[in-house]
Symmetry: C2
Subunit: 145 residues, 2 copies
């Protein structure tokens, strides 16, 4: 693993840690100024104002009882110059305030740019597929093969 | 726009053209050997064997009556060295063989690597968000703001 790869893995670990600790400011500090997110929840896209708004992230944090755990599996990573991307399956677990136990596998892609010597997240795309059987159901119970 | 950006935009246009013409071999020729896709339909991920299988793409093509149109909006693109990524909202329109008119906005992220002087697609992630109201419904009727 080269230095850039190590830095990006460390950045992702920091982001995951900020989610676990429900620390919106620390998570947002890892984003590039123009960061755009395609998330599990609507809308279609969150632009830079939304991705940098700690109140929005805070609202989501408040729907969880304890820590929000998110673990990556088989992360693929490519870096060259000042641009990088990473993707893999992500396993999110925890308890919502209504007592619901979350145990969700989803797909996560993240993109990065180095600005003034610091790697930052420019884009995140999180999703599950949906059933093509006419039910239009989001598939929240899929497991990796 | 520099040369690399122009080459990647041209690669994406070629891919879109291959889908429109239902030309599985031409679409697959644009993929890197290790390409992994997170698509609208299950499974969670399609590994290199699945992404390079023209029969799988062909099955999907056969569910459409005429051309499959897919247009990008506000595509963001970053390139450095031999790595790049692009993302934006995608508008897919066409008619399924059962007469259903498709008019779908979804989120698309694509990653690229230059190998032996040629840019190739290493990863695609296509999705819609899902409703967090307990219905677990995939949101297929969202429009860009």
């Amino acid at each position: 693993m080269n230095n850039d790869e190590a830095e990006i893995r460390s950045l992702l670990a920091e982001f995951t840690g900020a989610l676990r600790n429900k620390d919106a400011d620390s998570a947002i500090a890892l984003l590039a100024e123009d960061a755009i997110t395609f998330d599990l929840a609507p809308p279609l896209e969150q632009g830079p104002d939304a991705t940098h708004n700690p109140a929005l992230l805070g609202e989501w944090f408040q729907t969880w009882k304890g820590p929000i755990n998110s673990e990556s599996r088989d992360l693929k990573l490519d870096v060259s110059g000042n641009v990088a991307y990473a993707y893999g399956l992500q396993h999110m677990t925890g308890t919502k305030i209504d007592g619901q136990e979350v145990d969700l596998w989803f797909r996560a892609t993240a993109c990065f740019r180095r600005e003034d010597g610091q790697w930052r997240i420019t884009h995140m795309h999180n999703s599950v597929p949906f059933a093509m059987d006419g039910s239009e159901r989001a598939l929240l119970d899929l497991q990796p093969e």
